[in-house]
């Protein structure tokens, strides 16, 4: 019931704004980049709205509960990426005049094979990024409403596909700008309410972490996926039906879908490969990847991946093409840093409170749901329900916004770059791509959202970021060099991901370099591009092709100003009043 109350308005407003965008859409350019008439403030709100995904809204706080304060470095990397983008990519990329990253590759290097390779990289990044969004949508809805996991996944898929197919990027711009404001409000107000209403005792405990060893009160835990617990002290758990289940020392297999009530004072069982919340190292502000004991290397690896990956995320890059010129694109990047910094002051509050109030989530692996689980722990009455509903609405807005941009980019890559079709084909592709992602997300309930998203960043950092940086700043880059670099980066990261998922366990510092390959895969991709390019001979026009990207637009065509006066609409009139 709470879930319905929370999610319905978000879905309805998203659809309404999406429908409003249909009126002005005639061409592929309208659909993909809103015909390039979006002002910096509106566009940066849309970029932030698109960027603040489930990984930011829920994932960071969940990682803090599970792994410790070090997880707060993820948002730093997410934001730092926009400074790299501002300095290196935004304006020249926009001036290239290309619609998508593969378009840029072709405009700069005139190589159709590179265009197709870039489109494939987009599919890989989009897949790694979209599946966890849909998965988390299903998971949160099932936690809040008790519905089935697949219901949430299907709802998310349908809403995203319909909005996109009808409205395209113009719809997405308004939807995402609206959703950024929604998310900001729905994240900050509950955080302040939580801080004020938990009382001084909990606040004191929150800043003095102790290991989660015994249940503080009777705690009901629902296992949505099967888990193996390591039990060191025997205990007895109850089922909701009133039965008693003895838990012997050793391994204890919990089947999926079971709900146990751990009595007050019972010892907390262990989970393979994880330290409980508040355990040794939890309070360190560094990321100990896989618990291998190299926190500094782990932190640097994650920061490199997120920082350079942001620069290469295809759906974010595409947003910069909706700016009217290079200068506006640069301003968009700068404003985005400001907006994101405001939002990212708050995930830590949910994280440290979640460690005190809902540490049992670590048993089920569903710490991603800590944010929505918190209000009911603080207040059982109307206020708790209200804030649960608000946070669920914000979380759902987060999935929707990110999925909109990603699905657009994936469909664009398929129908614009791989197949070269018109607007109608693009709309059909949107539905097909959404269906495929829903199918992939259905069995992915157990995979960790944070891990998948960071891999998406790593692939982007090892393919598009060298392509863009060298393409924009180095005139000697050749098409064979770019192809080799993108291919090597894609294969290296894909290999490392496959090794982590299916390979034998690795220990020590190599484990970190396999799980977070950015520290070696990014230099490898850059190096391959440079070396292969130096062996070749760039075509005579290459310097011109690069310099063209740095030439500021001179006479501004009034038709390309931020808001086309010739195409006024109610929404644009209203926004024009506020955005200058």
């Amino acid at each position: 019931m709470i879930a319905a109350l929370a999610v319905t308005p978000v879905v309805l407003i998203t659809l309404l704004i999406g429908l409003r965008g249909v009126a002005a859409m005639r061409t592929t350019s309208d659909f993909l980049v809103a015909s390039r008439r979006v002002s910096p403030l509106l566009n940066s709100a849309a970029v932030s709205g698109e960027y603040l995904s489930a990984a930011s809204f829920l994932g960071v706080a969940g990682l803090v509960v599970k792994d410790g304060v070090g997880a707060l470095w993820y948002p730093v990397g997410f934001t730092a990426g926009y400074i790299a983008m501002l300095a290196l990519v935004a304006a020249p990329m926009r001036r290239s005049g290309a619609l998508t990253v593969p378009d840029f590759a072709e405009a700069r290097l005139a190589s159709p094979p590179l265009r197709r390779l870039a489109a494939i990289a987009i599919l890989v990044i989009g897949g790694l990024y979209l599946v966890p969004q849909f998965r988390t949508a299903g998971l949160v809805l099932s936690v809040v409403s008790g519905s089935q996991y697949w219901v949430g996944v299907v709802i998310a898929g349908v809403v995203v596909a319909v909005t996109l197919a009808l409205g395209g990027m113009r719809a997405a711009t308004y939807v995402q700008a609206f959703q950024f404001c929604l998310k900001l409000v729905l994240f900050i107000i509950p955080a302040i309410w939580l801080l004020l209403s938990v009382g001084p005792d909990i606040r004191g405990e929150a800043v003095r972490p102790v290991e989660f060893t015994h249940f503080r009160h009777d705690t009901s835990v629902t296992f949505r996926a099967a888990v193996t617990l390591d039990v060191t002290e025997p205990a007895t758990v109850r089922t909701p039906a009133g039965g008693q289940i003895p838990v012997p020392v050793g391994e204890f297999h919990v089947p999926a879908g079971s709900e146990y009530i751990f009595p007050q004072g019972a010892p907390v069982p262990g989970v393979r490969g994880q330290t409980p919340p508040g355990g040794p190292g939890w309070e360190r502000p560094l990321i100990d990847v896989q618990g291998e004991g190299y926190p500094l290397l782990g932190t640097w690896a994650v920061l490199l991946a997120t920082m350079l990956g942001t620069m290469g995320l295809p759906h974010v890059l595409m947003r910069f093409h909706t700016s009217p010129d290079g200068r506006a694109a640069r301003r968009t990047a700068a404003l985005t840093v400001v907006l994101l910094s405001a939002f990212y002051l708050f995930p830590g509050i949910y994280g440290v409170l979640g460690r005190v109030l809902v540490p049992q989530l670590y048993l089920t692996g569903a710490t991603d749901t800590a944010v929505v689980a918190l209000p009911s722990q603080v207040d059982n009455g109307v206020w708790g329900d209200t804030f649960t509903a608000l946070l669920t609405a914000g979380a759902f807005a987060a999935f929707l916004a990110t999925s909109l941009g990603l699905l657009l980019v994936v469909s664009g890559a398929i129908s614009h770059d791989l197949l070269a079709g018109g607007l109608r084909q693009l709309r059909v592709t949107v539905f097909l791509a959404a269906a495929v992602v829903v199918l992939l997300a259905l069995p992915a309930a157990r995979l960790d959202a944070g891990v998948l998203v960071t891999w998406g960043f790593t692939v982007a950092a090892s393919t598009f970021s060298p392509l863009l940086v060298l393409g924009i700043w180095w005139s000697r880059l050749t098409a064979p060099g770019a192809i080799a670099g993108v291919a090597v980066g894609l294969l290296a990261t894909a290999g490392a991901i496959a090794m982590t998922l299916f390979g034998p366990p690795v220990h020590g510092w190599p484990a970190i370099l396999v799980a977070q390959p950015a520290p070696w895969s990014v230099p490898l991709a850059f190096g391959t591009m440079v070396v292969v390019s130096l062996f070749g001979r760039p075509p005579p026009w290459t310097t011109t092709a690069m310099l063209r990207l740095h030439l500021p637009e001179q006479d501004r065509d009034p038709g390309h100003s931020a808001f086309g006066l010739d195409r006024s609409s109610t929404v644009r009139r209203m926004v024009r009043r506020f955005v200058r």
């Binding site: 005639r26 926009y82 400074i83 501002l86 360190r284 502000p285 011109t544």
Partner: protein, 115 residues
Amino acid sequence: MPHRRVAVTSPQTRLAHARRRSRGRWRVPVLDPADAERAQRIFRIQRRRAMVAVAWLFALVLLLPLVFALWPELDSLRLLGIPVSWLAVVLVPFPAMVFLAVWQLRRAEKPEDRA
């Protein structure tokens, strides 16, 4: 419906939009010599400024974890009851990054205004 919208494009335009796009419309990029010279000048300035900004960014983001790794005492030092290192991981990078973004934006726009 007072604002009913009507498609005013010619049927030819609509046909062209519905058709498959032909690729390979790529043309050799050209710049006139004056523009090329201006672009070269701006490019040099922007490259230097971008490198400085990225260097500051890497220094900020990579050195702060090093500080935490070298001085674990920051975890037990408290300000208003909160460990200093927890505050530092949020309250140092974000304001610094906002400053860096605004600074670099100004620096990048200046040469374009002059040119």
